[in-house]
């Protein structure tokens, strides 16, 4: 049987605490036989032992010599998927928020509906695995609204990094992907390129270690930067 190649991209910045548990969980996850799943850890110039920890676990490691931000790190993984002809690339955050078992949910949704991009969402259906703060929910509503204006898509969890890209989306993102806070902005990019984006309900967890990339004071900057990014992506493409 012809297996489809899947690349799990795990962007990491100082995740030595959470990474071993996550990687062994991935190794234990039973993926359907029709997929051949590889794991690549992208180290975004961590100051801790993320690389050593990852190498011990026998996975592919992309070691960036400079800190590029989450988008630049994820894009490096997507480029690897593109160069090595993977059928699907799935982003899985290094802090353990995205349960590896839910990867199967994304793959099944792709198989069933043939979307180009599948987003694992906390807010569609009965996603009750993870509750976030009020401010964060407010932001997420705002981006839902902004996304509807720019793309016409109903995406509720546009900041979710738990995503599957198929070959079309991989080819696009390998060349063109925002480096800072890429999630909502890339949705505009995908929609403008005519890719089909859909979200499915998944269970998420609290982070297992490390800290969020967005602090409270940074959330205003985050919203402004992302709004601008979405607007200009909309104009440009």
């Amino acid at each position: 049987m012809m297996q489809e190649k899947v690349l799990l991209i795990i962007p990491c910045y100082n995740e030595e605490a959470a990474l071993p548990a996550l990687l062994s969980e991935v190794a234990k996850t039973a993926f359907p036989d029709s997929y051949k799943v590889d794991v690549i850890v992208v180290n975004d110039c961590s100051t801790d032992n993320t690389v050593a920890v990852a190498k011990q676990m026998n996975v592919l490691v992309l070691d960036l010599p400079m800190n590029l931000g989450i988008g630049g790190a994820v894009q490096s993984g997507i480029q690897y998927a593109f160069n090595n002809q993977y059928d699907y690339a799935i982003q899985l955050d290094g802090d353990g928020q995205h349960p590896p078992a839910e990867v199967v949910t994304l793959l099944n949704a792709q198989k069933k509906y043939n979307f180009d991009v599948v987003i694992g969402s906390r807010f569609v259906g009965n996603g009750d695995g993870f509750q976030s703060s009020f401010i964060r929910r407010l932001g997420i509503r705002y981006f839902h609204w902004l996304n509807r204006i720019f793309t016409g898509n109903q995406i509720f969890d546009s900041t979710s990094g738990f995503r599957l890209l198929n070959k079309n989306a991989i080819a696009l993102a390998a060349n063109n992907y925002p480096d800072e806070y890429p999630e909502p902005e890339s949705l505009v990019l995908f929609a403008k390129a005519g890719l089909k984006v859909k979200e499915v309900s998944v269970q998420m967890r609290e982070r297992q270690g490390g800290t969020s990339s967005i602090g409270k004071s940074a959330s205003v900057y985050y919203s402004l930067k992302v709004s601008l990014g979405m607007f200009f992506t909309f104009i440009r493409h």
């Binding site: 592919l60 992309l62 070691d63 960036l64 010599p65 400079m66 630049g72 894009q75 490096s76 480029q79």
Partner: protein, 118 residues
């Protein structure tokens, strides 16, 4: 010639020499030097032609000649800062591409070493 005129001309020449030295040593790229050379050129003109500022201000309808200097200088500074932001953005893009390329190469080398051992 008035003392201030002499002073401006001397300072200007020193500035010009400094820019030339930077270019010769390779510390300043020519494209960024252009704007500084133009600046010295204008300062030089007005240090010789003292009435020039008044003439131009009058021509443009500016009552106080120094205001023209401030307006012009601030405008030029803003434009140049914008230009520097563009330069910084370009550099950031290039650095991203380089970093990614290096990461890919490192992984490729490691994979090859592992193959050789096997």
């Amino acid at each position: 010639m008035v003392r201030i005129q002499l002073l401006t001309i001397v300072v200007n020449i020193l500035f010009l020499v400094y820019i030339f030295r930077l270019i010769i040593k390779g510390k300043l790229r020519e494209e960024y030097a252009i704007v500084w050379l133009i600046c010295t050129f204008f300062i030089m003109i007005f240090s010789f032609w003292r009435r020039g500022l008044d003439v131009i201000a009058h021509f443009l309808g500016v009552f106080e000649a120094p205001n023209l200097v401030f307006t012009g200088a601030i405008f030029a500074i803003f434009i140049y800062l914008l230009h520097l932001s563009v330069v910084a953005s370009n550099l950031q893009n290039n650095i991203r591409k380089l970093s990614q390329e290096i990461a890919h190469l490192k992984l490729a080398i490691e994979n090859r070493e592992i193959e050789n051992i096997q």
